[in-house]
Symmetry: C2
Subunit: 536 residues, 2 copies
């Protein structure tokens, strides 16, 4: 089931995730299905929290980003425009001896199914030349299975955002710069799913397309284009400014995303920024930063933040025949005030950018004259306040992030048991914001009705506000340990002092902290607000 082998730490993670109901192999009773994983009760809660936090940070807490929830199956033309139909593929070879099919670039790693101890490239089997294998899952929509009915499961959530860009623009009060964000499932028919849930065939993405003005437009309006500043400490994120060009916006989103990871419990020291080198960039990308996490199986990508220029909107404009540009009153007004030379310079730069793009993406039969004319028309639009927005795309994987959070949370330490003897415990040190269960409410003893009644009252008091777990089974120390493994940051114990055995402690409870076992006494009446601050 594509779990890393010979990695004792990962074995512990996989074991804990199964044992405590974070992650199960999909369809396990039928032998599983390679590259698919289910989230159990604790995993489902963790996943909801991660997605909610992202949605809140990216959309609800900002004025300039709105949400979208588009379908997984869309018109296949979207994937022609995006390039996925033609180029989203891996090179594959077939072995005529064992009938296996393998990724051509991995034959040195994949074990030969027939010759133990040898990899595919070492065996004697006769191989075909590499052929492109498209990673999109294909299906048919409608009653007739012919070419006109082919559709794909989306391999990313981003394209729906571009396809609905004009609808969103026209039905909200947003103006560029603004973003559209989406969370949802995506599918890639990976030839070799691997590293547990890290590279699976069905996964979830959290993607933001943030639309900005091209630098020429910024310069026309603001008189200058501010470059990205020096790295800014997390506590002082820069405030967007009207003179920001793509570089400043790109850097801004890198910082925002790092701050997000920090806010849910992944400190910067666990992450690496990898700035792609010019040769590595996709042809339309101006820059791309990968945020990497140090997984137990290697340092791997959590998120990519790409400056994609106007590639996506351009493609959809050309393939759909629908204008994807915006009208910007500010630009129109500013343009008329610019000196003639400035107008000419900006128009020329815009024209050159458009021509480069249009020439590169020209369809068969398009002549250089046609390309030149189209680029010239695009540049002429500036004077009328028209342009195609550029885009900054922070694109994160939910499942990868969950795996990072789980790996980072996993600790073994020594804690005294009921009798004061040190014992090894497993504790999942999730940030309270992502923890599946926020607080466990425990009556000290199960067989004292007064304790149980008060514990149930505390339970009901907190329940409308957070995910609470009630547990009265077994010794209190064992109940703590169970919550440690689930990653519950706080345990609230109702004891005889709560009932008034010591009058000064009446209506107070013990709050026990997961990470260090420390305990604190709190009034029941203050409990809700005390917890809410910590978990939000």
């Amino acid at each position: 089931m594509s779990v890393p082998k010979d990695n004792p730490f990962m074995e512990k993670i996989v074991s804990l995730c199964k044992r405590r109901g974070f992650i199960y192999p999909s369809s396990e009773i039928y032998g599983g299905i390679n590259g698919f994983w289910d989230y159990g009760p604790l995993g489902a809660e963790l996943k909801r929290n991660v997605k909610d936090l992202w949605w809140n940070a990216t959309i609800r807490r900002r004025d300039d980003v709105v949400g979208l929830d588009a379908t997984i199956i869309m018109s296949p033309k979207i994937w022609q425009a995006s390039g996925h139909v033609d180029t989203f593929s891996d090179p594959m070879i077939d072995c005529k001896t064992c009938q296996g099919r393998f990724r051509a670039d991995q034959t040195g790693e994949i074990p030969c199914p027939k010759k133990p101890g040898k990899c595919v490239s070492e065996c004697d089997g006769e191989k075909t030349a590499p052929r492109a294998f498209n990673l999109m899952f294909q299906t048919y929509v409608g009653p007739v299975r012919d070419d006109s009915a082919i559709a794909y499961l989306r391999p990313e959530t981003a394209q729906a955002i571009f396809a609905q860009f004009k609808n969103v623009l026209e039905t909200t009060r947003q103006k560029v710069p603004f973003g559209i964000a989406q969370v949802g499932k995506a599918f890639r028919n990976e030839v070799t799913p691997r590293n547990y849930t890290f590279r699976s065939r069905e996964f979830e993405q959290m993607e933001l397309e943030f639309f900005i003005k091209p630098d020429e437009v910024v310069e026309a309006i603001a008189g200058r284009v501010a470059k990205a500043g020096e790295p800014v400490p997390n506590s002082q994120l820069p405030t967007p400014n009207s003179d920001w060009g793509w570089e400043a916006w790109h850097k801004y989103w890198v910082e925002q995303r790092l701050a997000f990871y920090e806010s849910i419990g992944l400190p910067r020291t666990t992450l690496e920024e990898y700035w792609q080198k010019p040769a590595e960039l996709a042809h339309y990308a101006r820059a791309c930063v990968d945020l990497l996490f140090k997984f137990p199986f290697g340092t791997q990508e959590l998120e990519g933040i790409a400056a994609r220029s106007d590639f996506d909107l351009s493609q959809h404009e050309r393939f759909s025949g629908k204008a994807m540009g915006v009208f910007d009153e500010e630009l129109r007004a500013a343009w008329s005030q610019l000196p003639r030379e400035k107008q000419d310079e900006l128009r020329r730069r815009y024209y050159e950018h458009r021509k480069l793009y249009l020439a590169k993406m020209a369809r068969p039969g398009e002549t250089p004259e046609q390309v030149d004319k189209a680029a010239r028309e695009d540049a002429d639009g500036l004077a009328k306040g028209q342009y195609l927005p550029h885009v900054i795309e922070p694109s994160a994987g939910v499942d990868r992030l969950m795996l990072a959070l789980i790996c980072h949370a996993y600790h073994e330490d020594q804690m005294p048991d009921e009798k004061g003897r040190l014992e090894t415990r497993i504790v999942m040190k999730f940030h309270p914001r992502v923890a599946p269960i926020k607080v466990a409410v425990l009556p000290l003893l199960k067989n004292k009705p007064e304790l149980v009644k008060t514990a149930r009252q505390v339970h009901e008091l907190l329940r409308p506000w957070m995910n609470v777990f009630y547990d009265d089974a077994g010794a209190i120390g064992r109940r703590y340990r169970r919550q440690d493994e689930a990653g519950t940051p706080f345990c609230v114990t109702v004891d005889f002092d709560t009932l008034g055995e010591k009058p000064e402690l009446k209506d107070t409870v013990t709050v026990r902290f997961r990470d260090d076992g420390r305990q604190e006494r709190l009034k029941i009446s203050e409990l809700r607000d005390w917890l809410l601050v910590k978990i939000r």
Copy 2:
């Protein structure tokens, strides 16, 4: 795009949904794709709220239900066990004249593509005999496209719950009766998607499988089986009891689900209970209630609540070869105390139920003797505390519920404008719990920095706790109208009194109620808690 025609009310709904960004046709710039709809910014928020409320009511606020988040693509064997591969199909006919393919049971309604004004059954085209057309979307997993790689997009979320039943049972501390619930996408290749988002090809479900003891087990433990009582008023939902059999549990869930709809703004008067007649029931179902909503295009199903006996777990046990039964210490202990005649009677009833099922689902080649032996072994399990749980399944559609909420919320009424003249307004009277935006914060005037500053402070104060919209563009009356159309229940206006023009009103704001335009003065310091009570 399968929107109801000649239905003026639905035309208004569709228009409002597009204009305000609730719902767009998927892939609209490419001409759309029949049966697929996207949710825009307001729709995405509404949908999140609906799903969150269901998740909270069904899982987080109960002790006896846990969540699951399984994959859309699962082992195809699951769909063999569930019966979907063999029987989840519609009868289709082909017309040899127009080459069209139509649902055989709808030829009297579907217009003939060639003969305007005639339906398919009236045209002269030569038709084939009806053939079964499976509604599951099919794809291939892995690099090789052959029969062994066929997989399906799940047509319902329920089966994943059955397939993971034992994993969940073993990794949580739940005991029967308990439930497993899931929210997620499902896909059905409907031949004729219709009624806007009501019957689409990609949709979302909220399903609970609630596992209960068979009546024989209840009787062994509790000495009796309580029948379902008379309908219970909503305010007094019955508390589950250990003597409840399937009828009492089934009725309980019907009441729970009605109470849920009421809690999010669909009063009982808008819903109908339809108890399926014996002849309509699926062969394994003991009862099924459809909860219907009076849509503008007809009274149609929102949710089905079925008593499915032990059919699903039985099927997966037989197809996977993995034991799906539970061990129940209470049963084992109770059984040994029963008089011999009672044991015999319960064993006989359990045996007869199992035999009936096993005979009906027997595979080719299975002999009556084998069936009898298997049923007898199942019945012998009772004495050891073993049995297969039965199940009650409340299964709701997210998109249908959203459409019901939208249709129910839509109102046109007369409101005085700025100058006191009555004008017609469109207002979406969503319950505050589901409303996409909970509150709008509006400075009375945009060009007074003090008003704007204070309004921004109020905005920031509320934002961590709810979805807030800030709007300073245009006359205050027009801003109210925009929020009315979005369904925002409360507008908070910061005016000169807020700043202290009337000292006794300093630091207060006006709260304006969407439904009747009434206004109330509230302290800023009390605003958050005042709103939180209303929206939760």
